[in-house]
Amino acid sequence: MVTDTGLSANIVRDPVTEQAELSINMGPQHPATHGVFRMVLTLDGERVVDVYPHIGYLHRGSERLAEGENFQQITTLFDRLDYVANFNNEWVYVRAVEKAMGVEVPARADYIRLILSELNRIASHLLFYGTYGLDTGAMNPVMLGFRDRERIQQIFEGVTGARMMHNYFRIGGVKEDLPDGFVPAVRALLDQLKVGYEEARGTLTESEIFIERTAGIGAIPAEDLLDYGVTGPLLRAAGIDYDIRKADPYSVYEELDFRVPTGQTGDCYDRYMVRMLEIEQSISIVAQALDKLPDGPFLGRVPRILRPPEGDVYVHGENPRGDLGVYLVSSGGTVQPYRLKIRGPSFCNLMALPAMIRGSYLADATVILGSMDIVLGEVDR
């Protein structure tokens, strides 16, 4: 049957209703699935009737690996969870261990962490901007996004020695002090970012085709979002201003002045705008934090061998993608955690994907998936 094109085999025909549907496999190798994510779409013409997400192609067993690693070594695992927001991940983890051990973090270390994390948030949102532009078919945004992200990563390289996998935060502080000239370099970077941000806005934000493609797409009621456990920009786009930096303030966020941008309808355009405005806010946060950056030690007094007392802690923080939580159980006296549970925002946000995609066009499916800004490293862990 080599010559038989057998197209009927491609089409799922309901024997009762005679309705023909096309089942199509998107991913794990597909230009628009953001990593190794796989969707099985059931199409009725161009309409998506149903979608089954498949995850796990990037599963590395991070949680199980963590049970065999020292507390110092686990930071490297967190770098690799959400690999476009490494500092934000590391931060939540070290805060968890610090809480378990009751370690005080010096003020300077807190500010260093905050500055780097907010810069990383900008970098992450810039990457979103680029890939989202690409998802809608535009080519320039991805270059704009990567251009500015690269500038941020050069700063990171100067501080930590690595562009992405930093392993810089330590229990009780950071690995080493900021290099000379860090503050002026970041100030110059912020100016560049503002220029780049305006270019990015000019390219997409008001473009009619972009608005046509994104407005009113993928919106589901805010109550449903809450039920699905969606957090981060996706939830804020629907008008719920849940940001852990405000709702459950940690570190020195209370000392800084910023606002939480929210949308109204929760459609793809709102999600895009929330992230763009968050870039603005993060730029302002970093500028404020640079003004306030205190002197002093960068690492608190921490025992060389970390043995948290018996018990469990839960710590969460605002990742660029939402609420990243770490639940740490220590059996006491061991140098390794008994259990480390990660509540990943991408993973939880992904739960709402079928509800968002169902009934939309095939072209919208990639736009909606792109607007969720998932990182498979953290979804699959």
Partner: protein, 324 residues
């Protein structure tokens, strides 16, 4: 319409700016001074020998187990040229596994390991990504020549102490009393395990009757399979011995004080996740690897038919034993 025109106009303005990309292979990227590629080893020009004493701290802290180290007595110490009693015997780094986290550098007590800037370390075959001691030392000398590292004036432990007294602790140098006790206890347990392992392994060298031809003269005719089997047996014995040594603190442990205590005392401040099974595991792994290598060597020699070199090699081929 207007938004689209704005978009087009923004794009046009971009064309007037200079390119931000660099043509990579012809223009090398400017790396930050702190840039981290894979680690390399430093060379003490004064003695000359590596800084590394083979204390295994890096091996233990490495999250991906990509380092394999062994320690030996320093011949130069016996001659009085060096102050290092122990020296690294071999140091294997699997760059394919290395995640460039820098923990080994941070936890090294002897300034022996540094992060290189060798970011384009790609190879055509995976075995080429295994760097041995000589390659790592060569790379370390290159780094020094590039000015990315210079020999420290004070020892790392002294620097740590200074930093601690001045109020800004260096990387986790502080150890409270309780932890020091715990560390010492752990260290003692580890030593016991080690010795037990050695005892467990020492007999086979003498007792083994299955392969008399191997005993000491070690003819080139050693079947690699035999060697492998022997290594496995030794490894099992070592493991069992380690388990035994863990449960009851084996009584006579003062056999060879200076052999093991020197590195241990230097090592004490290190964050050794000194849980016995882990140490035993590491040792076992080392023994296994060494045995494997011995088997390989034996096989090679058998193939070569060279008998002259094999004697000196055979000393090393005894799995898991430091020369006593």
């Amino acid at each position: 319409m207007l938004g689209t025109f704005k978009s087009l106009l923004t794009t046009m303005k971009l064309a007037l700016k200079p390119p931000v990309t660099a043509e990579y292979p012809s223009i090398a990227p400017a790396l930050a001074p702190r840039f981290m590629a894979h680690p390399v080893l430093t060379w003490d020009k004064e003695v000359p020998e590596p800084y590394c004493t083979g204390c295994l701290v890096c091996m233990r802290i490495c999250p991906t187990d990509c380092i394999d180290v062994a320690m030996m007595d320093n011949p130069k110490y016996a001659e009085g040229d060096s102050t290092r009693r122990k020296i690294v015997e071999y140091f294997d780094l699997n760059v394919a596994d290395c995640i460039m986290c820098g923990l080994c550098v941070e936890y090294c007590n002897f300034d022996a390991i540094i992060m290189s800037d060798n970011f384009d370390a790609s190879q055509y075959a995976r075995p080429n990504l295994m760097y041995d001691l000589d390659q790592l030392l060569e790379a370390g000398k290159e780094q020094e020549a590039k000015g990315r590292w210079s020999p420290p004036e004070a020892k790392k432990s002294q620097r740590r102490a200074a930093a601690q007294s001045s109020g800004t602790p260096a990387a986790g140098a502080d150890a409270s009393g309780e932890d020091r006790v715990a560390a010492a206890r752990a260290k003692a347990a580890e030593l016991r395990a080690q010795r037990a392992a050695e005892r467990g392994e020492a007999p086979p060298a003498e007792v083994t009757t299955t392969a008399p031809e191997q005993a000491s003269s070690d003819t080139p005719a050693v079947d690699p399979r035999v060697a492998a089997a022997r290594a496995k047996a030794a490894e099992l014995r070592a493991q069992r011995a380690a388990e035994r040594g863990e449960a009851p603190p084996a009584a006579p442990t003062t056999a060879t004080p200076e052999q093991t205590e020197t590195p241990a005392s230097e090592q004490a401040s290190a964050d050794a996740p000194a849980v016995d099974p882990r140490v035993a595991e590491a040792r076992r792994k080392a023994a296994e690897l060494r045995a494997q290598r011995a088997a390989e060597r034996a096989a090679q020699e058998a193939a070569n038919g060279e008998s002259s070199d094999s004697e000196s090699e055979s000393d090393n081929s005894k799995p898991g034993t430091d020369a006593e």
